[in-house]
Structure formats: C-alpha cells, structure tokens
Amino acid sequence: MAVLTDRPPAAAPARRDQRVARTLATRFLGYATLIFFGLVFLYPFVIQIGNALKTEPDAAANPLSPIPDPLTLAGFERIFAGTNFPLWLGNSLLVTVLVTIGRVFFDSLAGYALARLRFRGRSGLFAAVIAVLAVPGVVLLIPKFLVLNQLGIYNSYAGLVVPLLADAAGVFIMKQFFESIPLSVEEAARIDGASIFRTFWSVVLPMAKPALITLTILSFQGSWNEFPHSLVSVQDPDLFTLPRGLADLVSGSLGKGTQYPLKLGAALLATIPVAIIFVVFQRYFVRDANDGSDKG
C-alpha cells in the first residue's frame, strides 16, 4: 500500500490496466494448464470405458475415440462367460473384507497400546514398527513364499489373508491419532473401574472414528489392489484374486491387439469399487497423503 501511494498518480491507471491484463492472462493460462492435465489424467479412463464397449475391429481401428460404434456388451458378456472373473471377484471380496477387518482391529489395538499403555519394551516395539515401515515390499516376494511353504499354508485362503492381517503403517497411523485424544476421558473411565480393554473398546474407539475410517479405506484399497502377495502365496487358479486374474489374462500377450474390449472391461470392473470409495471418501484419501508429509 505504501508503495502505491508513493507513485506519481499519472502512472497509476496504466499500471492498473497492465495488472488486469496480467491477471487475465494468468487465469487463462491457469485454466488451460488445468484442462490440459485434466485430459492427460482422465482421458485414459474415458478411452478405457469407451473401448470396453466397442467391438474388437472398432477398438483396433479407432483407439482414441471414446464413442463405441457400434455399441456392444459382447466384451462384458465374454468376461462373465469366458473367464473366471466371477470367481476372482468373489476371492477378492473375501480377502479384502477379512484383511480390512483384521487390520482395523489389530492395528488399533497395537496403536492404542503403543500410545497409551505403559509397559516395558514399549519404546523398543515402536522402534521396531518404524523399522518395519522401511522394509520394501518387493524384496519380500521370495521370503514370503518360503515361510508360507514352510507353514503349509501356501496355495490356500489362509496364505492369501493371514500375512496381510496387520501392517506397520496402520499401527503408526492409529498410534499418532490416539496420542492426539485428550487423556481425561479415558482416565475417568478407568477411575470408574472399567477394564483396559473396555476403556479402549467403548470409550476410546468411538472417539477415533476419523482415524478408523481412514484406516478402513486404506486397508480396503490396499488389499483390493494387492498384486505381488497373491503372486507368491497362491498358484491354483481357483484362488486367484482380481489383480492376479487380470494379470493372468493379459500377460503373455505382450501388447498384441487381441481382445482389448474384454481386457479393458475387466480392468474397468476391477477399478470401480475403489473409484466409488474414492469419490465418496475423498477427503480421507487426501488426509492420508498429507499425513505422509507430516510424518516426514
């Protein structure tokens, strides 16, 4: 402001015009960039939907066009009649539900203990959780296979589910959240004689709803999309989950133009549940990514 009044008055209108022009230019450029990248990030999905509804020759001839001509559900019919898709879907649902329940329950139990209960070894345990966070998943492919094999649960539902029932990231999220809840409420419950588990279950957990929703969504998304684990834990096609079945469907064809409507349709169906959850619970996804930066 001070700077503005110091200027000679005659120069002011010209400057203002300039500024208005610059603002308009900025806005135009801003929207142009947004729309360009909006297309870059969303158009592949539009192409996917369009081509899933096309005939094979049409998909090969007009891959860029989102409009099927003629429109056909033949691809989807073949997904359900010609592949094991319904079976994969069932397996994925079962695994996802069990893993999500397990993670939410076990991670919050452990998170609560690490945040609030005083016991010998607690800080060591927390350090171990942090260390486990650093272990990259892909180097565990062979190790996981070895242990499942040794325990005799390779190629079984137990092998698909049990190793995923707890995760260090979830424990970390829950611990951070429990630490942010004021102590006084649980102290009151404890003084009233409630047991530790009861205090946790009926006093603390209800207050942890936002963190529980976040963890539920992350677990759902993580286990629904999980691929490498199913690759090393089962071999029997009857135990394939959706990502495994999908990978089986396309691998080997190496980009040759065969059955694209069917493959795109199957990939689309596998994407829909996470897409719905993303749209409904978006703010929890965003919160998680921001937590990631806070953590750092």
């Binding site: 801003g30 947004l34 592949p44 345990l125 190790p143 690759l231 396309v250 795109l264």
Partner: protein
C-alpha cells in the same frame, strides 16, 4: 506446539495420578503385550522370520523341492552373491542389465514426477482459479487405482494400433511398436547424428561384464512406456505433498514480495522454492525409494522383454526364483536390492531427523526470507 502444552499439563498435575497408576502398572504390562501380540505375531512370522529364512536360502542352491532347511540342500556360501558381481556369466549379465535399466528408469521417473507434481500443485494452489478441487481429485485418482488394472489400460494405449500411436499419427509421426522395440533411447539419439555402431572406444569391456556401449544405451522404447505410466500414476500423490507444503507458505510473504516488485519467476525461485525445500527432499527420496521397487507394471506389461530391456532387479529376482527355480540366486538379488533401498531410506531418515531438531532455527530463518529476497 501441541505436544509441548500437553507435557506441560502432564507435569503440572504430575504426582498423584502417577502414584495411583503404579498400582495398575502390572495390568498395563499384561494388557500392553496382549494388545500388541497379534501385530507382533503377524509381522514377526510373515516379515522378520521370512527375511532370515531368505537370507539362509540365498546361501544355498535350493531348487524349490522339499524344505530348504535340510542337510540335502547344497550350501554354497557367498557364491550366489559373487556370481552377481565378479563372475563372468549370464547371471551377472542379467543382473547388471537390470541394474542399468533401473538406473535409467530412476533417472527419468524421479525428476519427471517431482517436477510434474510441483507444477500441478502450483496450478491447483492458485487462488484465482475455480474448480480446483475437481482437478486436484482428477490428478490424484490414478494413484489410488490398481496398478494391474492401470497397466492393462496402458498396454492398450501403447499398443501398435493404440491411442498413443493414433495421436502421434495425427501429428504426422510414425509411432514405434512400443513393446517390441528394444532400442535404447540414447542409441536412437546417437543414430540421428549418424552414430549407428559403437565407436571403437566403447565396444570394449565396461564395468561388470557389460560393454560401455551397453551401459550407455539409455532406457529402451519399451521402458519409456512403463516410465510414462509410472510418472502418470505417482505424480498425483506427490502433488498432494507439495500442496501441503505450499500451505506453509505464508500469504503475507507472497504479497510482500509482490509489493516489492518481484516477478513471478523471482517469487517462485526465491520465496516459494526455498520454503518447499523440505517437501522437495521428501518427494525426491520417496521417489528414489519407490522407483527401485518397480515390479507390477513390468510383470503385467513386458515381463522384462524386449531383449531384457525392461528387466528390473525386483522382477529379475522373482523370475530367477519362480521361473528358473534358482531360489538362492533370486534371494541374493533381493538382498542386494534391499541394500540399495535401505541406503536411500537411511539417508532420508537421517536428514529428516536433523530437520526436526532444527525446527526452532527454521522458524527464525523463515522470517528472514523476505529481507533476503
């Protein structure tokens, strides 16, 4: 700040609750261990124990038959490791090829996703634009979808008669057969200036059994399509991190620099970017850690082909173990990869820890920024 007030309250009313607690300490010990027991059992059984088992297997020639922990399995000591580094042979050539491929992959993916994420964050953070939250979600959406499903879509986009080539044809460019093209991008660039065969100095032996010419091939055309896919899927997540970082840039600071007559570039260069330094560091190191783990996309899109130019250490270790039944060698590759990733993780954690102890000074420096610019 919040923690400071909490501890202050805690110490102020300290004594009596602590004494009362001592009575129920034993309960807390039992409950504490019971509460963490499921997590300890699962992570111990399926994470720590397997790592130890795999380390043992990496010292043997186990072929997948029977148990690896019997005396019949041949113990070979460090042979699976020396094979990767010092002995001339297929194992070393494949491993070094995978390392080369992954180095090029990292060298493109990490800078590209960081710049793209920062750019998107700056646009989405612009106060003058409407509809930003829609675009923010659009940019982030690919990050939450299944890597396998997205790879299927990109297989179609990059197919010979696919959308990318249709788009290139529209611009008058004859697109390559993406997934059949093993030519390195750097070789192609050299080809445009007339260097088609390796110059005499580069045919000779480079380090670890690959010729210099092979080391300098650049990512193959096929690898470029995987790189495109990964940059496209990960940028959204990192954009959100940059957005969170941008919220720490005080509006007053930005306005002050406008009044000082700083140009947009100057403001970005001297005000925004220095304040985003911690976020940028986080994004870069997370990118480094993540991009050494590329596996799903390779499995679905190329399986290491063409001519092994999309082979990565992660995929090679899988293939060596589960396709060639050489579990010892595969496990050894995993451990080398583990070491590479852990180095980046430790660098990151170290720097972040230093940053946290630096916090008060950072506040002081932040206030100094406008004066300096």
């Amino acid at each position: 700040m919040a923690t400071e007030t909490l501890t202050a309250v805690g110490t102020a009313r300290g004594k009596s609750p602590r004494r009362r607690r001592r009575g129920i300490r034993r309960d807390e010990t039992v409950a504490g261990w019971l509460f963490v027991a499921p997590v300890i059992v699962i992570l111990g059984l399926f994470l720590l124990l397997p790592i130890l088992m795999a380390f043992w297997v990496s010292l043997t020639d186990w072929n997948g038959q029977g148990s690896p922990f019997t005396s019949e399995v041949p113990f070979v000591g460090g042979h699976n490791y020396t094979q990767l580094f010092t002995e001339d042979g297929l194992a070393r050539r494949d491993f070094m090829t995978s390392i080369r491929n992954n180095i090029y992959y990292v060298a493109i993916v990490v800078p590209a996703q960081t710049v793209l994420a920062l750019g998107l964050a700056l646009v989405v953070n612009n106060r003058m634009l409407k509809g930003k939250s829609f675009f923010r979600s659009a940019f982030y959406f690919p990050s939450v979808t299944s890597s396998v499903a997205i790879s299927v879509v990109f297989l179609f986009l990059f197919a010979n008669s696919g959308a990318v080539n249709a788009l290139l044809a529209f611009l008058g460019i004859d697109g390559p057969e993406w997934f059949a093209d093993s030519r390195g991008v750097l070789h192609l660039l050299l080809g445009t200036v007339g260097v088609d065969s390796p110059p005499a100095g580069l045919t000779g032996g480079g380090p670890f059994g690959l010729s210099w010419w092979d080391w300098l091939a650049g990512p193959s055309v096929a690898m470029m399509s995987i790189i495109t896919l990964v940059v496209w899927t990960t940028s959204g997540t990192f954009m959100l991190m940059f957005l969170a970082g941008l919220q720490n840039v005080p509006v007053a600071l930005d306005e002050a620099s406008i009044l000082d007559g700083a140009s947009r570039w100057q403001r970005f260069r001297h005000v925004t970017l220095p304040l985003l330094k911690p976020t940028t560091f986080l994004v870069l190191t997370l990118g480094l850690i993540g991009s050494w783990q590329v596996f799903d996309q390779v499995y679905v899109m190329s399986q290491g082909d063409p001519a092994k130019t999309t082979l990565t250490p992660a995929y090679l270790s899988y293939r060596t173990a589960f396709r060639d039944f050489d579990y010892g060698s595969g496990a050894a590759i995993s451990f080398v990869l583990f070491l590479i990733i852990i180095v980046f993780t430790l660098i990151q954690r170290r720097a972040l820890a230093e940053r946290d102890t630096d916090r008060p000074r950072r506040g002081w420096r932040r206030r100094r920024v406008p004066e300096r610019s």
